[in-house]
């Protein structure tokens, strides 16, 4: 049999087969195809969003302290616990991601609470106050670490909270296991001068390298204080925001 005979034989296939092939593809068929394509498109878009959403915490983590320094998952968890919707979380996360490129200054700052402690030598029963190294920062991540620190720096036990007047170590009692389950503590010993009347921390943010910057203002007075006072600042920061290996720079401006 030749191809030509086969082609001629095709002329005699059943009418209904010819009719079927002559008809235009039905609208239903076209709709099914369009719906299939639309469904595929939706899956692709959803996949892209999902990928972006789930990969963001890793991006933030990998960006480290340069971008945000805060663990992305924890960040999201905080928003979720505050009752924010997914889209709000997404939007906020987007803002944070954008901040990695060119962040507005206020977007880079992290929440903290500060307590300012003035350690007066007059109130110590020690012959000489144990002076802590100036311009130093110590990260405390547990109640046990804090106890050890207080043992090493007994002068703190004879100081008071400059705002509340609360005697220490009463002020330290709140820094128990419950506190350290949610937060860490930064113990800052700023530069000591006799004419310093106080400090105020303005911001905590990552610097351009792998470290952190604590910005603050130092207030001075004309006359030096009579006692050999020493200042220490307690900074309550989000848990695991800063690691022991991170470099921290203090930047105080005169107020």
């Amino acid at each position: 049999m030749t191809g030509k005979e086969l082609l001629e034989g095709m002329s005699f296939v059943k009418d209904e087969i010819v009719q079927e092939s002559e008809e235009r593809p039905s609208r239903k068929r076209q709709y099914i195809r369009l719906l299939s394509m639309a469904a595929c498109l939706c899956v692709v878009i959803a996949g892209a969003f999902a990928w972006e959403y789930f990969s963001r915490p890793q991006q933030l983590e990998s960006a480290g302290s340069v971008a945000s320094g805060m663990d992305g998952a924890e960040n999201l968890q905080q928003y979720e616990s505050a009752g924010n919707t997914a889209s709000e979380i997404d939007r906020e996360a987007n803002l944070q991601q954008e901040s990695a490129v060119e962040p507005p200054e206020d977007m880079m700052n992290y929440p903290f609470e500060a307590a300012y402690i003035r350690i007066s030598a007059d109130r110590t029963e020690l012959e000489e106050p144990e002076m802590m190294p100036n311009q130093s920062v110590r990260l405390i991540r547990s109640a046990r670490e804090l106890d050890e620190y207080l043992q090493q720096n007994k002068a703190l036990a004879h100081s008071e909270n400059s705002e509340t007047g609360e005697a220490l170590p009463v002020s330290f009692e709140r820094y128990g296991e419950a506190f350290f389950s949610e937060k860490d503590l930064l113990l800052i010993t700023p530069e000591q001068e006799s004419n310093i009347s106080g400090y105020e921390i303005q911001s905590l943010h990552p610097d351009s390298s792998d470290g952190w910057v604590i910005e603050g203002t130092v207030f001075t007075q004309d006359d030096g204080a009579a006692d050999e006072a020493q200042w220490q600042i307690l900074l309550e920061i989000p848990k695991d925001l800063i690691t022991p290996d991170d470099k921290i720079v203090l930047n105080f401006q005169n107020g």
């Binding site: 034989g9 095709m10 002329s11 005699f12 059943k14 092939s21 195809r33």
Partner: protein
């Protein structure tokens, strides 16, 4: 006018049936024939032959799918015309002589027709076994003689899909015909 009404005119031997057929399906038949013959004049001649054949066959036949009925006639006539044209190009004298001798062979054309009909029935069985997409693509290519591009555009498939489907269907047809004892 509905197909049934046109067929009714043929049954009543009303010559208006030809005009109605030409009005309804003349252009489509012309396109089908021209696709085979690549000539407006030859296509027009074949379409007129189609009307004549239809006039002769209705009655006694009453087609359920009128356009398919017309198209099949038109296609067969056009292929016959193509065969004649190609032979004529080879050598007019030889073709003429061959035609004269073929006239001496009893029912030669009828035998070919019967063979083609039998093959058509086999092909119908084969095509009905195929998935719808494969069947439509195969019919558009080898019955309507559409190009691959046209088929792809008609059904919204990619050209590669059309080519793949055609290849697979040809392979299946080869096995089918072999299983039916037809050497190809």
């Amino acid at each position: 006018m509905e197909d049934a009404e046109i067929v009714g005119l043929y049954w009543r031997r009303d010559e208006a049936a030809i005009a109605a057929t030409a009005s309804m399906y003349g252009n489509r038949l012309q396109c089908l024939s021209k696709r085979i013959l690549d000539s407006d004049e030859d296509a027009k001649e074949c379409v007129n032959d189609t009307y004549l054949h239809t006039w002769n066959r209705i009655p006694t036949e009453r087609p359920s799918f009128f356009y398919a009925f017309l198209a099949k006639i038109c296609r067969y006539v056009s292929l016959g015309k193509l065969d004649w044209n190609q032979a004529a190009k080879r050598n007019a004298d030889v073709v003429s002589l061959t035609a004269e001798l073929e006239a001496c062979i009893p029912d030669n054309r009828m035998q070919q027709y019967l063979q083609a009909r039998e093959l058509g029935e086999l092909l119908s069985v084969f095509l009905q076994q195929l998935p719808e997409d494969s069947r439509l693509i195969f019919m558009r290519r080898y019955w309507h003689m559409d190009s691959v591009e046209e088929i792809a555009a008609r059904y919204g498939f990619s050209q590669s899909k059309v080519k793949t489907q055609l290849h697979r269907t040809r392979t299946k047809l080869h096995h089918f015909l072999e299983s039916e004892g037809i050497a190809v």
